[in-house]
Amino acid sequence: MAKKLPEVDAVLVGMGWSGSIMARELSKAGLTVVALERGANRVPGEDFTLPGIRDELRFSVRQELMQDPSQETVTFRHGTDKQALPMRRFGSFLPGDGVGGMGTHWNAMTYRFLPSDHSLRSHLTQRYGKKSVPDDMLISDWGVTYDELEGHYDRFEKLCGLSGKAGNIKGKIHPGGNPFEGWRSAEYPNKPLKPSLAGTMFEAATKELGYNPFPAPAGNMSAPYVNPEGVRLGACQYCGHCERFGCEANAKSSPNTTLLPVLAKEPKVDIRDRCYASRLVYDKAGKKVTAVVYVDLRTGEEYEQPAGMVFLSAWVFGNTHMMLHSGIGQPYDPKTGKGVVGRNYCHQVQSQVGVFFEGKEMNPFMAAGSLGMVIDDFNGDNFDHSGMDFLGGGYIALNSTNARPILTRPVPPGTPRWGSEWKEATAKWYRSSASMNCQGSNYSSRGNYLDLDPTYKDILGRPLIRMTYNFTDNDRRMSAFLTEKGAGIAKAMGATHIAANARKGDFDVVPYQSSHNTGGTPMGTDPKTSVVNKYLQSWDAHNLFVLGASVFPQNAGYNPTGAVGALTYWAADAVVNKYLKNPGHLMKA
C-alpha cells in the first residue's frame, strides 16, 4: 500500500528544462511544489569538475548521465506487422536522467521554430492547396501561433543567455543574422561565439553560393552573463566536451546553471530526487487527476502524493507512458486512425556531410556545443516546394562541437576501419576534417506512434513504451535533397573529400542520430486529434498539463529545446494568469 502524503498545490514529474521552468513559475505564484525526479541530484561544482569531467569513455561512450536502460527502456519495431524488441542499450537517442534532465548534457543549440512550423497545415494548404498534404501525413497546427509565443521564446533565450545574432528584429532584417527567422522583439542577450576555421570556410562558401549564413544560436556563453533570475554563468572555454557532459566552466545554459540555484532556496519547492513516478491517480468522472504515485528508489517505499495540479515533464516517452499507463485519454490506433495518446510520434531526419581538407589545420578539438555557422535557406517552407516530391526541409550547419577521439575521428569514404591504412588516414585527417549537419524535419505519419508494449516491463513492473516507427518516403526524399545541398556547399568550400550520407533505408536504433524525439501527446484545438489543448492542458483532466516536445504535432528542421522552453513559459502563463483564477477547462472541446 502506498503511503499517503499531505496534499500540495502542484506535483511535477521530471526535472529537466520543462519541469524546472514550470517549478520556478509556480513558486513565483506562491504555490507549494513537489518535483519528482527519478535520477540523482546534480550539482555542477561537485559533479562536473576537472579533470574527471573530461572522461570521454565514462560520459560519452558509457553514457553515465543518461537514463539507465536496465531500469527502463523502449521497445522498437518498424511496423505493426513486426515483433517489437527492447533497445537493450540506448543508441539513436539518449534520454536524460537526474535533476536537470537532458539539459545538463545537451549541446545547447537553441533555435526558434519558423512561424510556419507552428501553423504548418494551414500554411501549406494555403500556399499549395488542400491536396498538397498526403492523407497519411498527420501534420497539424499547434493551436498557438508564433506571434503568441514570441515573448515566451524571448524569455527562454534571456534565461539561457544565448549567444547569437538576430536576423529579424520587429520586422527589420539585420545582416549577419537569419533573414528567414520569425520577428524577434530584441537582439540575442550575448554576442556570437568565436568561429572555428571550418565555420569561417562554410560562411564564405555559402555566401558565394548566394545563401544566408548566420552563427548558430548557442547556449554556450560567449561572455559571462547574469540572467533575469540573478544567476551568473561563466564564459565558454571551447572545451569540446559539451554534448553528453556537464559543463565544468558553468558556461552552458542548463536547468542546473540557470534555475536550480534559485529553486534550491525556495522553501515552497521540494525537489525529491531518486523518486520514480509510476502512475497518476485519475478521477475519470471528475475529469481530474488527484495524485501521483511514486517509489523512493533509496528505500523501495511507495508513496501517494495528492496534488491540486499535476504537470508531466518527463520527456517524450515518459509523458506518453504516464498517460497510457494511467488510463488518461484514448490510446491511438493506427488501423482506425482513432484515439490520440501516442499519436504524431516523430524524430529528426538528420544526415551528415563529412568534409576533408588536405593540409588544413582545423583544430577540431577547439569546439563548443553550439559553435557553428548555419543556413536556413532550405528549412521548413523557406523555399518553394511547388513541383517537389516532398514537404519539409532543415537547416544545414557546419558545427564544430567536438573531436573527442573515441567517437570522432573521421576518415574519407573507402578507408578501411582498421589496420595500417586506417591508421595512416586517421593520423592524416583527424585535424583536417569537419562535419556538416543537415537537420531534417520529420512530419508525422499515420503509422508512426507510441503505445504500451504487451510483453516487456520496467523495474516498477509497468509495461515499457513501444515505439513503432520508420522513415517515410517523404523523409527520404527530403533528406536526399538537403544532403545534396550540403554536398554542394562542401564542394564550394574546396573539400578534398566529401562524405555525404543522406538518410536512406530503414530507421536504426543503434547509431546516434539526435535526442530530438517529439510527439505522443500532441497539442491542438481538436480533442479528436490532440491530447492537450493550446495551453498544454489535458482534454481529459483539467488539472493536468503536459510539457515538453511530446506535445509537438510534428518535428521541424531544428533542435527542439528553444520551442520547448517557449511553450513551457506559455503554459505557465496560462496556468498562473488563467487557470488559477478559475480552475477548469481553458478551451472548449
Binding site: P51, K194, W418, A427
Partner: protein, 254 residues
C-alpha cells in the same frame, strides 16, 4: 618468445611480419624487469611546439600486465586481434603495446562486463536489422563465447587459434569475420567482430587511466591535446595553425 622484446624489435617485427606472434608470446610471459614509463618534461606541457611530436621516440617499453578475467588463451587472442587492428609502425606502437588488452580485460572484469546499463529481461529473440544487439549475455560472457567461436573457426580452417597464425593470415581471418563470412557455431562473426573492434578502439583512444592508450600514444598519433581542453584564449590565435603540445591526460591533473 619467453621474454618481452624491446620496442625496437616490435617495430622490426612489424616490418618483417612477425609482430603479432611476438606479442602473443609476451602476453604469456611478462618480463617484470622492463623499464618504467618515462616522465614527461613539465615545461613542455603547455607551450605549443613547432614540430610534430615524434610518437615512437617517446613511447616507453611495453610491459604486459596481469589479467583480471581473461584467460591466457583469451588474452593471446585479444592481443593478436588488437595488433592486427592497430599494427606497430612509425605512427604508434601496436594495440597490445598500447595496453589495449589490459583495457579490455579491465572493462570486462568490471560493471560494464557484467552487463551494467543494459536491459537484460526476456523474452529473447534473434536480432533483426535496426533493433540492436539482442544477446542476453553480458559483455564478458559475450566476448568469451565470441573468442571461443573465433578460435574454433580458425582451428577448423587454418589448424590454429587466431594468435598462432602469421600476421597476414590473422588480418585475413579478421576480414572474413568483419564481412560476416566466418562460419562461427552459434554466434554471428560480424557482430562479434564489431564488438571487438569497438573495444579495441576504445582501449586505444580512451584516457590512459583505463589501462590502454599508454603514454597517450593514440593522442600523439592524431594530434589530440587531451586535457585541460580550455581553448577560449586559443581558438582565435590558432585558427588555421597547428596546435602542437605535449598531450595531457586525467592523471596529469590528479
Amino acid at each position: 618468445m619467453t621474454e618481452a622484446l624491446p620496442r625496437r624489435r616490435f617495430l622490426i617485427g612489424a616490418a618483417t611480419g612477425t609482430a603479432a606472434v611476438t606479442v602473443a608470446g609476451a602476453f604469456a610471459a611478462p618480463d617484470l624487469a622492463a623499464a618504467q614509463p618515462q616522465e614527461t618534461a613539465p615545461e613542455t606541457k603547455s607551450a605549443p611546439k613547432p614540430e610534430t611530436t615524434a610518437a615512437a621516440a617517446e613511447t616507453p617499453e611495453y610491459i604486459p600486465e596481469p589479467m583480471q578475467v581473461l584467460t591466457a588463451t583469451e588474452a593471446a587472442f585479444v592481443a593478436a586481434a588488437a595488433d592486427a587492428m592497430i599494427p606497430a609502425d612509425d605512427l604508434s606502437p601496436s594495440g597490445s603495446e598500447c595496453g589495449v588488452v589490459t583495457y579490455i580485460d579491465r572493462q570486462l572484469a568490471g560493471a560494464y562486463g557484467a552487463g551494467a546499463r543494459m536491459y537484460r529481461a526476456g523474452p529473447f529473440h534473434a536480432a533483426v536489422p535496426g533493433a540492436g544487439n539482442q544477446s542476453p549475455l553480458p559483455p564478458l560472457e559475450f566476448f568469451r563465447a565470441g573468442i571461443k567461436a573465433a578460435n574454433d573457426w580458425t582451428k577448423a580452417t587454418h589448424g590454429k587459434p587466431l594468435d598462432g597464425l602469421e600476421p597476414a593470415k590473422i588480418a585475413e581471418a579478421l576480414k572474413t569475420m568483419e564481412a560476416g563470412k566466418a562460419e562461427f557455431a552459434s554466434i554471428g562473426s560480424r557482430p562479434f567482430f564489431n564488438a571487438l573492434l569497438t573495444m579495441v578502439m576504445e582501449g586505444f583512444f580512451a584516457d590512459p587511466m583505463y589501462g590502454g592508450n599508454r603514454n597517450m600514444a593514440s593522442w600523439r598519433m592524431i594530434g589530440y591535446p587531451g586535457l585541460p581542453a580550455t581553448y577560449a584564449d586559443k581558438i582565435d590565435a590558432f585558427r588555421g595553425k597547428r596546435y602542437d603540445v605535449e598531450p595531457q591526460s586525467i592523471a596529469d591533473f590528479s
